[in-house]
Each structure stands twice: as structure tokens, then as C-alpha cells.
């Protein structure tokens, strides 16, 4: 057995084991931690498959951000977890769920095995046209040129998700700040960590964002890291969570989509097609969109975790 095959096999077994753990373990919190480890292992798997962009995204969003959201939910549910387990679904429901999940898995396994090999791919078409976009990273070319509309719409999905979370607020505290836990402990370890980690994290986040044009990386991964740094500042009590009624906050939140749509319209005027880029200006316009998206994505991702407004405006 070659070392690389052994590594792949070990990774596959660990992935299956972790997935099983996350589904079967009793405690919600343990399941979430299992899920986060699963995300990290998946990152490794993507890296083994040379999908560095996917690996970075999985680490940032799949493992990191989603894990953090789930962990927050698990902590909040701790007080009612015991009652919830008493209301567990009956045997029939469980068998039905197992059957449904099992048949989907079998269907997928079968379908994946019958997929043609080599797979038909648009990669050659991307390679042929990437020069016109003036960026070096094919993933960036797909996300911001060939399929730019999808990316624009995805940022709108995030805005709607944020609004959906805000809409859970109590009417009396509308416009106020999310009730994100704050440690008022100036000498605490969190405070210390925030002072050391945040400058480093901001530099790395900025770097991941900037190299995204030509190398694996980009705005989503960069924004996730920046959002994590922001959350650390809030957690350490160095900054308070923003008021959701703040005009400045809302301006930064919609800046990305707004600039994206404007650049699209500019394209329909200058290049004859919505989201088209006039020759020689593609990179300039792509970087403009990415620069505008970075603060919006950072804020939205952070706000998703901070949750609905909980405290009145004055407090």
C-alpha cells in the first residue's frame, strides 16, 4: 500500500466515523463538535483532491462559520435539551427517516458510480476564455465573470438570511443591538487574545482576499476570517455589537450588492451586456466588485452569528 493511498483511506474512514458520530451521539454539543471536526477533515479531503479553493471555503464556511452557528444554538438549547429528548420521535418515524436517508444514499452511490469518466467538463472552456477576464484564478473568473449573476444573487441570499434572523426580534427592542454575550473583563484571557489575534487575523484575511484574483482564496474566505476577528472583538468586550437600525451599518451591508448591480448596469452600457466587462477593464471592474463585497460579507456573516436584536436602542 502506498503512503498516499493509506492516507486517503484513513481520511475516508475518519470522515465516515465523524459523520456517524455527529448523527448518533446523544448530546447536541458533542454532535456539533463532531460536525466541526468533520468539516476540518473534509477540508483535508478537498486539499488532497487539489481543490484548494473548495478546501478554503469548507474550512471557513462549512466547518468554521456553520459550526459556530450550531454551537451557539446548542448552548442556547442546553436548558431544554432534556425535555426535547423526552419528545423524541416514535419508532415508526425513525424507521421512515432511516429508510428515506438510506435510499437517497444508495441512489447517490449508484449515480456517482455510473458517472462518465473522464467527466465532461467546462474547465477547457474556462481556460480558453480566462485571459479576457484578466484574472488568474479560474474560480474567480467563474464567480465574477462567467457566472457573475449567480454570485450577485448569492449575496442577496445572505442579505435576506440576515433580515430573516432580524425579523425574529421582539417588537419592543426593534432597532436595538443583538444580545451577544459580552465579557467585561479587561484582564481576561479573551481580552488578551483579542488584542494579539485581531491584528494578525485582519492581515491574513486581507491577504486571502487579495490573492483571490490569481490564487486560491477570495472574498468569501477572507470575509469569514474578518468576521471571526470582529466577533472576537465583541466577545472580548472591546467593541459592542451594532444597532440594527444604524444607517451606517445598513449602508455597509448593502454596499456590496449595490456596487455589484451598478457595475452590471455599467457593463450593459459600456460592453453591451449586463455584467459584461469592456475589453481591458475586466480586472478593474472585478476588483471593484470584490472590494465592495468584502465589508458587506464580513458584516453580514458576523451579524448572522450575533443573532436577532435583543437589547433596546438606549442600552
Amino acid at each position: 500500500m502506498t503512503p498516499s493511498l493509506a492516507l486517503n483511506l484513513a481520511l475516508a474512514l475518519l470522515l465516515l466515523g465523524m459523520a456517524g458520530w455527529a448523527v448518533l451521539v446523544r448530546s447536541t454539543q458533542a454532535a456539533v463538535i463532531g460536525f466541526m471536526v468533520f468539516g476540518l477533515l473534509l477540508t483535508l479531503a478537498w486539499a488532497r483532491l487539489d481543490g484548494l479553493d473548495v478546501a478554503l471555503t469548507e474550512a471557513a464556511i462549512g466547518g468554521g462559520l456553520t459550526g459556530f452557528l450550531l454551537l451557539g444554538a446548542a448552548v442556547r438549547l442546553r436548558s431544554v435539551e432534556h425535555r426535547a429528548t423526552l419528545q423524541a420521535p416514535g419508532l415508526a418515524t425513525r424507521i421512515l427517516a432511516a429508510l428515506a436517508a438510506g435510499s437517497v444514499t444508495l441512489l447517490l452511490a449508484f449515480a456517482v458510480l455510473t458517472l462518465p469518466s473522464p467527466a465532461p467538463s467546462l474547465a477547457p472552456a474556462v481556460a480558453e476564455n480566462i485571459a479576457m477576464t484578466q484574472v488568474g484564478n479560474p474560480v474567480t473568473a467563474v464567480l465574477l465573470a462567467f457566472r457573475a449573476l449567480d454570485t450577485l444573487l448569492e449575496t442577496l441570499v445572505l442579505v435576506l438570511a440576515m433580515l430573516g434572523i432580524w425579523s425574529l426580534a421582539d417588537d419592543r427592542v426593534w432597532g436595538g443591538r443583538p444580545g451577544f454575550a459580552i465579557a467585561h473583563d479587561a484582564s481576561g484571557i479573551l481580552h488578551y487574545a483579542a488584542r494579539i489575534l485581531v491584528p494578525i487575523g485582519v492581515v491574513i484575511g486581507g491577504y486571502i482576499f487579495w490573492i483571490g484574483a490569481d490564487d486560491p482564496g477570495g472574498k468569501f474566505q477572507g470575509a469569514t476570517l474578518l468576521a471571526a476577528m470582529w466577533l472576537l472583538l465583541v466577545l472580548a468586550g472591546l467593541r459592542d455589537a451594532p444597532r440594527v437600525s444604524s444607517q451606517a451599518l445598513r449602508l455597509w451591508v448593502v454596499l456590496g450588492p449595490l456596487v455589484f448591480i451598478s457595475v452590471g448596469l455599467l457593463g450593459s452600457w459600456l460592453a453591451g451586456s449586463f455584467l459584461g466587462y469592456p475589453q481591458g477593464y475586466a480586472k478593474l471592474m472585478i476588483v471593484t466588485v470584490e472590494l465592495a463585497l468584502l465589508p458587506s460579507l464580513t458584516l453580514i456573516l458576523g451579524l448572522l452569528i450575533m443573532g436577532a436584536p435583543k437589547r433596546e436602542i438606549g442600552r
Partner: protein, 507 residues
């Protein structure tokens, strides 16, 4: 293919409502309603332009309206494409959205203090978001863009369910969210398989290369089941009644009349336009069998409801069933080498007349609730006295659900019934007639109960503005008069479409 400046209207139809969301959020405060209503007016002009353009090409070249984004033609890039089905849906949704906006003008007014409040902000922004997402569903020509459209639609719909913030509506919203996300996930899995097998996500290109093989069946099955969960077809309907009945009236109207039609439209696209040669008649029969079960179960459970809003929500469960009867009818006709167009037209008419009628009914229920302070069906006395226009609207909308002439529901059922007889599938016709009978029972009960005179000295709890009643009546009248579309000189449904029998070849 026509790519004229008018094609840019397709982009605007999608992005104008979302631009409204952005500015509504940015300006916020007491102005969100103004922003939303302005956007609705501008959006109406855009949709009007598209319909005008489509009618022009209908008598001319007869091709669909297309727009290639960024100049990158598929399979590398993505295109928007509006055929006859898209144009009709765009128009119907625009009518419902604008009349619901008129109705909601009073319900979601800015607070007297001028301060921003939660419910109006969320309602108006999500109304625009639902509009933009649905328009995207109708004009998108790419399976992944359609996935994003489904996600947008989910995140726009769920907050409306929990708009009044009570615990039970939160629970309904969460259940809806789980069903919708599971549906999206299954759809995405199918789309990924199709890309893996055929290397494109463009609907037009995919329809030329897709083969009837195990992989396509797996993809079609995964995507269809996912979409059925979102459409709430029996037995995946359990999330719908609490979600649709618990929301405020204007939000229920949007959810029940429009949102479920988005995922239904996508099933239609998959079966008729992406993989018509993969579909088998027995699969279509299975889909219709679920539809028939929905009609019977939905109507019977509706009959047993004590509250008006829940009755209307269960009636939606039943009416969704009708939308799936067209599948074996159209494919049956195409297999027999006959013209399947009437079945498709019937299905489209059923969708549109249900959208108009159901919006009218939920809004009417809202006004009745305001007037009585409750919506118990056993005690609707005095409603006709206080709200004559609303009860008329309820009767007209009910007539369309039953399928009385000259309503849209009548023409739809007429077309579907004749397709059933022509293709030798009389049993689907029998289900339709039985469904109509059950529907007529509860419509009759509601109307008769609300005609009963009020006790002497009874006063309505709230005086309802006249324009709200007029908006409801306008919706119901559109549904009732939709049957006159039979007199239309142009057949918009078939614009830019290849007849099914040509796509399938004759077996």
C-alpha cells in the same frame, strides 16, 4: 432567439425588486412602504414591457425572449429565457403582487411616531424579495441559477410565516424552513449529477444531450421529490396549513397564491423542457396519483375545519393536487402522437386562476377577521352586511376554485377534462369532478353563513377601508373572468416552445 434591447427587461424584472429591497433596507424608517410601492409601480411597467414585446413576437417570429449575461454564452455563461409559460407567470404574479400591495397599504403602515417598526419593514422587503425570486424562477435558463432562485424564495417566504411573532407561528416557520431546505438540497444533488454526466447546466443545451438512462432518472427523481416538498404536494404537505394560516392575511396570500407555484413551475420545467425524453408515462401517473390524493384528502380535511383561514389553507393543499394532474394528460397525449398543448394550457390556467382566487380568499378572510374579531366558520353572521364587496369576492373566487363558468377554473378544468378523455385516462377526470363537488360544499357553507343577518345592534369591530375591499374584489374578478381568455386571438402559452410530441419523437 431574439436579443433586442427589450431582452434587458428580463434582467430588470429580476433585479428591480431586489434593488427595492436594498433601498428599502438602506432608507428604512417610515419610508419603507413608499420605497416598496414605488418599486412595485416600476416593476409593473417592466412586466408590461415584457408582455407587450412577447405579444409582438407572438404574431411575428414566435421565438422566446433571451438574454445572455455578460456576453458569455452557455454552457460557459448563463442566459435568461422567457417563453410563453414564463411570460404568463410573470404577468399573473405581477397582478397578484400589486393588488396585495394595495391591500397591505393599511395593514403595514408606518408607525405614528415615525419610528421604524419590525413587521412593516420585514413585510415590504420580503414582498419585493418574493417577487424578484419568482421572476428569476420564471426566466432563468440555468439549473444552478434556479437553485439560487429557490434559496432566495425560501429566505423570503419563511420570515413572512413568523411575522406576528407568536410561538406557534415560529414553530410553523421552522418546520417550513426545514422542509424547504431539504427540498433545496435534493434539487441541488440532482443538478450536480446532471452536470457530472452531461457537462452543462443550461436547460436548452441539456435537453439536447440528456439521455434516458439510470443517471438521468436518479437526478430527475431527486430533484422532483425536493421540489414536491417545497410545493407541499401530498404527503409532503404537513408544513403548509399551519404556516399559511398563521401568517397575517397579506402574507398568507403571497405564500399560498404565489410562493408554492415557484417550485411547481420548476417541476414543470424539468419534466417538459429539460428531460421530456427521460419522463415515462408511469412516472407521470405516479405524480398525478399524489395529486389526486391531495385533492381528496385536502378537500375533506378542509371541510372539517372550524376556522376560515385553516380551511383556506387546506383548500390550497387540494388545489396543488390539480396542478399535477396535467402531467400524465400531456405526456399521454404526446405518447399517442396527439397534440398535448391543451393539457399544458389547462395546467397553466389552473395555476393562474388559483393564484388569483386564493389571494382573494386569504385577503377576504383577513377583512372578515378584522370585522368580527375572529374567523370561526360557525359564526360568520353579519359579514355580508358589513362587507358586501368582500363576500361577493369570496363567492366569485370560490366559483373559480369549483370551476363554474366563465371562471379561469372552469376553462382549466374543461381543458384538462377533455385531455383526460382524449388520452383515455377518464379516472383523472373523475377525480377532478369529485374535487369540484367537495370544494362547492365548503364554498357554499362559507357564503351562506356570511349571508346570515347579524344580531340587532351588532357593530363591526373595525371599519375596513373601502380600497381594501376593492383590491380583494379585483383579484376575485380577475379569477372569475379569466375563462374569457379562451376568446384571446393569440396563444401565448406556446410562445417559443417545441411541441412535446416533437421532443419525444413517437414511440
Amino acid at each position: 432567439m431574439t436579443e433586442s434591447p427589450a431582452s434587458l427587461l428580463l434582467v430588470l424584472a429580476v433585479l428591480l425588486p431586489f434593488t427595492g429591497v436594498i433601498f428599502g433596507l438602506l432608507i428604512g424608517g417610515r419610508h419603507v412602504r413608499t420605497v416598496a410601492l414605488t418599486t412595485v409601480a416600476l416593476g409593473l411597467a417592466v412586466i408590461g414591457g415584457i408582455v407587450w414585446h412577447a405579444l409582438g413576437t407572438c404574431s411575428g417570429s414566435g421565438t422566446a425572449i433571451e438574454y445572455v449575461l455578460g456576453g458569455w454564452s452557455p454552457p460557459l455563461g448563463i442566459r435568461l429565457r422567457a417563453d410563453g409559460l414564463s411570460v404568463l407567470m410573470l404577468l399573473a404574479v405581477a397582478v397578484v403582487i400589486s393588488l396585495v400591495s394595495v391591500y397591505a397599504h393599511a395593514d403595514f403602515a408606518p408607525h405614528d411616531s415615525g419610528k421604524e417598526t419590525r413587521a412593516p419593514l420585514v413585510f415590504w422587503l420580503m414582498l419585493l424579495a418574493i417577487w424578484g425570486s419568482l421572476n428569476l424562477v420564471f426566466v432563468s435558463g440555468d439549473l444552478f441559477t434556479l437553485y439560487v432562485a429557490l434559496e432566495l424564495l425560501t429566505f423570503a417566504g419563511v420570515p413572512l410565516v413568523a411575522l406576528d411573532g407568536r410561538g406557534e407561528t415560529l414553530r410553523a416557520a421552522l418546520r417550513y424552513l426545514l422542509f424547504a431546505l431539504l427540498g433545496s438540497l435534493l434539487y441541488l444533488l440532482g443538478a450536480v449529477l446532471l452536470y457530472g454526466a452531461y457537462g452543462t447546466l443550461d436547460i436548452q443545451l441539456l435537453s439536447q444531450v440528456v439521455r434516458p438512462e439510470a443517471l438521468s432518472w436518479a437526478a430527475l427523481a431527486l430533484m422532483t421529490v425536493g421540489l414536491l416538498a417545497k410545493t407541499a404536494l401530498f404527503p409532503l404537505h404537513i408544513w403548509l396549513p399551519p404556516a399559511h394560516a398563521g401568517a397575517p392575511a397579506a402574507a398568507s396570500a403571497l405564500l399560498s397564491a404565489l410562493v408554492v407555484k415557484g417550485s411547481w413551475f420548476l417541476v414543470l420545467r424539468l419534466w417538459f423542457d429539460v428531460m421530456p425524453n427521460v419522463v415515462t408515462l408511469s412516472a407521470a401517473q405516479l405524480l398525478a396519483a399524489l395529486g389526486a390524493a391531495a385533492i381528496i384528502v385536502g378537500n375533506i380535511v378542509a371541510l372539517r375545519q372550524l376556522r376560515l383561514k385553516l380551511l383556506i389553507a387546506y383548500s390550497t393543499v387540494a388545489q396543488i393536487g390539480y396542478l399535477f394532474l396535467m402531467f400524465p394528460l400531456a405526456f399521454g397525449l404526446a405518447f399517442a402522437g396527439m397534440d398535448s398543448a391543451p393539457a399544458l394550457t389547462g395546467g397553466m390556467l389552473q395555476t393562474i386562476s388559483h393564484a388569483l382566487a386564493k389571494a382573494a380568499m386569504f385577503l377576504a378572510a383577513g377583512l372578515i377577521y378584522l370585522t368580527l374579531g375572529h374567523d370561526r366558520i360557525s359564526d360568520l353572521r353579519g359579514v355580508a352586511q358589513a362587507l358586501p364587496m368582500t363576500v361577493t369576492a369570496l363567492a366569485l373566487a370560490g366559483a373559480s376554485l369549483i370551476g363554474l363558468p366563465p371562471s379561469g377554473g372552469f376553462l382549466a378544468k374543461w381543458l384538462l377534462l377533455s385531455a383526460a378523455l382524449e388520452s383515455g385516462q377518464w379516472w383523472w377526470g373523475a377525480v377532478m369532478l369529485l374535487g369540484g363537488l367537495l370544494t362547492s360544499v365548503y364554498v357554499f357553507i362559507i357564503v351562506v353563513r356570511s349571508l346570515a343577518p347579524a344580531e340587532a345592534g351588532w357593530m363591526p369591530k373595525t371599519r375596513v377601508p373601502q380600497y381594501q375591499q376593492m383590491a380583494v374584489l379585483a383579484l376575485a374578478l380577475s379569477a372569475f373572468l379569466l375563462g374569457l381568455a379562451a376568446l384571446s386571438p393569440v396563444d401565448l402559452v406556446q410562445l417559443g416552445r417545441t411541441p412535446l410530441s416533437l421532443l419525444r419523437g413517437t414511440p
